[in-house]
């Protein structure tokens, strides 16, 4: 088990956003977290690599264990965020070249060797399915790329620091169908190497790519199951109601 959440609670002021979350994630699997807007999906994801605490006002309690070690007891947040990568909903190109975007974290973690840096850059862009499109303009500003390309660049940037878990927060919500399909293919490929947790409000997407799907409602886990089982034969009434939105 690569990531295990025990008893996670998140409060913001007087409102409780996540209640008593218990979930576990295995290696080399793709997990989807679905639920209506405002159910706490994004908060859950951000609390899994300690980026939630960058925003003011959140109170987090409970345990999130990465290979048995509680990330909230770990003093080095930097290391935690490197091991558990996060891709945001909005595609963001840092104001650097395409190549430097990919190497942004790598350079921080101390890699100086030029050949090695070039290798990492090429490998990660290839993994993100972007290499062919950008290999001749690596030194151009990254903001010249399209939204879908920037989102794949964001994935390459996270992959470059070799995370063990990859978190994605609705990575396709700002993208067109072609770009979405490209990213879904990419995620399925990546799931052969690492743990992927994908937050989405697109049920079709969860159905298409995820091995296991979790349904979150009002900050609580309602149901977890193999994707196929959960969609075909949900156990809880709330899940049924939510999923039936598919056919109705």
């Amino acid at each position: 088990m690569s990531l295990q959440i025990e008893n996670l609670q998140v409060r913001f002021g007087s409102s409780q956003i996540l209640k008593d979350i218990q979930l576990s994630f295995n290696e080399r699997k793709l997990y989807a977290i679905i639920g209506p807007s405002g159910c706490g999906k994004t908060t859950l994801l951000k609390s899994l690599n300690r980026t939630l605490e960058l925003e003011r006002g959140y109170l987090i309690s409970g345990k999130v264990k990465l290979y048995g070690e509680d990330i909230y007891e770990h003093r080095d947040t930097s290391l935690i965020r490197q091991r558990i990568g996060l891709v945001f909903q909005t595609p963001v190109a840092l104001p650097l070249s395409i190549k430097e975007n990919v190497l942004f974290g790598v350079r921080y973690f101390g890699e100086r060797n030029k050949t090695k840096l070039n290798e990492i850059c090429e490998k990660c862009l290839q993994q993100a399915g972007l290499w062919e499109e950008v290999k001749d303009k690596l030194n151009n500003p990254a903001k010249e790329l399209s939204g879908g390309q920037i989102q794949r660049l964001s994935i390459a940037r996270v992959l470059a620091v070799s995370p063990e878990v990859l978190l994605l927060d609705e990575p396709c919500s700002n993208l067109d169908p072609a770009a979405t399909q490209m990213i879904e293919e990419l995620l399925k490929g990546l799931a052969k190497q690492l743990t992927i947790i994908l937050v989405t409000h697109n049920l079709f997407q969860a159905k298409r790519v995820a091995d296991v799907t979790t349904f979150l409602l009002n900050g609580q886990v309602v149901e977890v199951g193999e994707t196929e089982t959960l969609f075909l034969n949900p156990q809880k009434q709330e899940t049924k109601d939510f999923i039936s939105g598919l056919t109705y």
Partner: protein, 277 residues
């Protein structure tokens, strides 16, 4: 309906004329300075020392130009590091609202301090207490204290204007705030920060009160010795005018000073505009 349209037009005219009036005031000041001052502006005026009796009635203002440049550079050199550090702390590091508010209020109070009070304080501290005497150094430090809040506020705002996504994306990769600052935030805010520094330079160049009590001399051949008094454009102007030495030379000096400020402000505006995009 007709009434509404009429009122609309009336308001439009009112706002336009208010704006035009302001522009008119500015243009007439500049115009008057050019009209009164242009006759004395020539190479000798810019490149010679004041001569004649009373001193300044003839000759030029070169030592005052040099002195003002020295004072301004010294002021910025003294203020820039503490001001940038404060701005970076306020924009990037201060986590507690309380601390941030205290610092912001302090900076605001410093900005609101009458410059003669800053001058007197610096006189007591640098000139007397620390024994610098009336000197370029004391004046530069006094001006530095005066422009400190200007640089803090412009640099802070330039940093805060940087897209917040960069912070989230950067930090979520595990890099430190310092690395993020050096590689992304400071380069992004650089034009705005530089604009603020130029604005501060203009402010320092035009200030008279703080240097009157800490640095200024009616005449001195040297400019650039830290421990000696210096001449400065605004103070020279004040003497020419208040002692009725030469009104023509006073207008000439004013024209030189205002041109200097105008150039600095135009560059600052251009840089801030670039940062805004």
């Amino acid at each position: 309906m007709l009434l509404r349209r009429l009122l609309d037009t009336l308001w439009l005219i009112a706002f336009w004329s208010a704006g035009l009036l302001l522009l008119l005031v500015l243009i007439s000041i500049l115009g008057y300075l050019v009209y009164r001052g242009h006759s004395v502006i020539n190479l000798e005026f810019l490149l010679a020392s004041p001569k004649g009796l009373p001193l300044g009635a003839e000759g030029g203002i070169l030592p005052a130009i040099k002195g003002t440049l020295c004072l301004v550079l010294l002021a910025v050199a003294a203020a820039i590091l503490p001001a940038l550090a404060t701005a970076v702390y306020l924009a990037e590091y201060a986590r507690q609202e309380g601390i941030r508010q205290v610092i912001n209020t302090t900076v605001q109070c410093m900005a609101g301090l009458p410059s003669i009070v800053t001058g007197l304080f610096c006189y007591a501290l640098f000139v007397v207490r620390l024994g610098f005497g009336i000197s370029l150094l004391a004046g530069g430090l006094a001006l530095g204290m005066m422009v400190f809040p200007v640089i803090v506020v412009t640099a802070r705002d330039a940093l805060l204007a940087v897209n917040n996504h960069y912070r989230m994306v950067g930090l979520s990769l595990g890099v430190s705030r310092w690395y993020l600052l050096i590689r992304i935030l400071l380069p992004q805010a650089a034009a705005g920060i530089l604009g603020g520094i130029l604005l501060a330079m203009g402010y320092a160049a035009g200030a008279t009160a703080p240097i009157m009590v800490t640095a200024a001399a009616i005449a001195t051949p040297s400019a650039g010795n830290l421990w000696e008094p210096v001449m400065a454009l605004p103070y020279h102007l004040y003497i020419l005018f208040s002692q009725q030495v030469s009104l023509d030379k006073a207008y000439g000096t004013a024209l030189v000073l205002v041109s200097l400020l105008l150039i600095l402000n135009i560059i600052a505006m251009w840089l801030r505009h670039r940062n805004g995009r």
